[in-house]
């Protein structure tokens, strides 16, 4: 939006909303919304505490491990089913099912199979992220221009060369797009996993805060989480734009 010819930055309205939050908090309208300033003060105190750092560390660990498995398994599977029609027809229906299925329902299964710990959370995270990565990698391989494939063959590229020098790069914009969406889903997955298995990471922290009605602590942690998730998704979008510059012009 422009005001008096000056273009306001895109996210600047969040300041306005923050102000509204402060005012609502100051009026003491509801116990559940403490003033933003109070939350921010708490935030700086909370960040230093051991409990927060432990939660942060556990979450980051589960998240990174989950995303790692999702990428390492998802991208090759996606490329494979993109290249092989038989595997595509066997596997794709399941990818589509799990892509739209409410995966939350599977967390109890993971809990009884893998215990109430890190392992279940990592698997939850992977399950949230992997399907879109497979699907996008497949789409990336599928859309490769026929004449690009023919070109590689005409100029005598070996299958390995063709794969690493042509296919992988030609499919890269879609693969990265899939990874970006997968990572955003993984953030949700890791939190959902921790909420349901509430003895690890932020799940345990939330349990502690809500049992003791520590509202500003709660909001402080939420702000940190949301800010991190948002920055991560913006950063990935930025990376994707940088790397995928040729996507439109190929």
């Amino acid at each position: 939006m422009t005001v008096y010819g000056y273009k306001l930055p895109v996210m600047s309205s969040l300041l306005l909303w923050g102000l509204l939050w402060e005012i609502v908090g100051q009026t003491g309208w509801t116990f559940f919304i403490p003033p933003l300033s109070e939350v921010l003060v708490t935030l700086f105190n909370v960040i230093g505490t051991a409990a927060f750092q432990k939660a942060m560390y556990e979450t980051a660990y589960a998240f990174i491990a989950g995303v790692f498995f999702a990428i390492v398994i998802g991208v090759p599977v996606g490329i494979l089913i993109g290249k092989s029609r038989l595997l595509d027809e066997l596997i794709l229906p399941w990818v589509n099912i799990f892509l739209s299925a409410p995966l939350t329902a599977l967390v109890p299964v993971l809990m009884v199979l893998f215990g109430f710990g890190m392992k279940s959370i990592i698997i939850t995270t992977t399950l949230f992220a992997i399907w879109i990565i497979i699907l996008n990698s497949r789409a990336g391989v599928k859309q490769i221009n026929r004449s690009l494939v023919d070109m590689a063959r005409c100029f005598g590229a070996s299958p390995l060369d063709a794969f690493f020098k042509v296919y992988l790069w030609a499919a890269m914009p879609e693969i990265l797009g899939g990874i970006r969406i997968g990572v955003i889903r993984a953030v949700k997955g890791v939190i959902i996993g921790q909420l349901l298995i509430s003895i690890v990471g932020f799940g345990a922290l939330f349990e502690l805060y809500s049992n003791n009605f520590m509202m500003s602590h709660f909001w402080a942690v939420l702000i940190v989480l949301f800010a991190l998730a948002f920055s991560l998704s913006e950063f990935l979008a930025y990376l994707e734009r940088r790397v995928s510059y040729y996507a439109a012009s190929r």
């Binding site: 027809e89 939350t104 955003i184 809500s210």
Partner: protein, 253 residues
């Protein structure tokens, strides 16, 4: 070749369910029932009617939440898409909501609204709404400028342009936003039944887990995933027939 694809789907289902059956027979874990055990538990629940009672309970917050998020989400989305000022004001909130793990709000919702229906509806709403708003706003904003120009050059009023050009042009994307919203709403509904209070299908899952009746637990999970997938597929079918050709017919194809 229609047949080939169909047989391969059957084959693929046989492989997966067969693997489940074998893994259950080994067994890989005491908590891993066979496919046949799980399916007979499912049929038992269907025949004694308990699963229908459970679904009536589960689908209530889902239906209310979806109805609320669909109507308000589309209205807000249209608004944000049409007005620069509202875009500035509202879109950051929904962009952040889209990226953020909103499930973390559940404990606060429970404190504020208790463990009843209200909290569950809220959970469905916060999960479903961002994608509906953002899809609607994006679709409105990305209406091809050539057909808007066409409308203006044939003397359309602003109202005509919104009603006869922008909304029809945006409706496929709005509809797919709704579908994604419903998909997220399912996640929210189940999450709230598992996290807030066990009711409906969440109750079957939690209860049968606590008494180690694993076949029933797997059956309930199987049924909810099946239901969600079938419903979302149905929506996608409807979407494809409803808007057949709507995304084509431009010069680029």
């Amino acid at each position: 070749m229609q047949n080939r694809s169909f047989y391969l789907k059957i084959l693929s289902a046989v492989i997966v369910f067969g693997a489940w059956e074998i893994a259950g027979r080994i067994p890989v874990s005491y908590a891993f029932p066979t496919f046949i055990e799980s399916m007979s538990a499912l049929f038992a629940m269907i025949f004694d009617g308990s699963i229908f009672v459970a679904y009536a309970e589960t689908l209530k917050p889902l239906a209310i939440g979806i109805a609320i998020s669909a109507t308000s989400g589309i209205v807000i989305g249209l608004w944000v898409g049409l007005s620069q000022r509202f875009e500035w004001l509202f879109s950051p909130i929904f962009i952040v909501m889209q990226a953020a793990p909103l499930a973390a709000l559940i404990p606060i919702l429970v404190m504020a609204y208790g463990i009843g229906l209200t909290s569950k509806v809220f959970v469905v709403c916060i999960m479903a709404m961002p994608v509906i708003v953002l899809n609607t706003a994006g679709a409105v904003r990305n209406t091809p400028s050539n057909i808007k120009d066409m409308g203006r050059s044939f003397l359309a009023s602003d109202r005509d342009i919104i009603l006869k050009i922008i909304i029809p042009a945006a409706s496929p994307v709005i509809f797919s936003g709704l579908r994604l919203g419903i998909s997220a709403g399912f996640i929210g509904a189940i999450l709230s039944e598992l996290k807030i209070t066990p009711t409906g299908v969440g109750d079957i899952i939690t209860y049968s887990r606590s008494i180690a009746d694993y076949p029933s637990m797997y059956a309930a999970i199987f049924s909810i995933i099946l239901l969600a997938v079938l419903f979302l597929n149905l929506l996608e079918r409807i979407e494809n027939t409803l808007f057949e050709g709507n995304n084509r017919g431009y010069v680029s194809d």
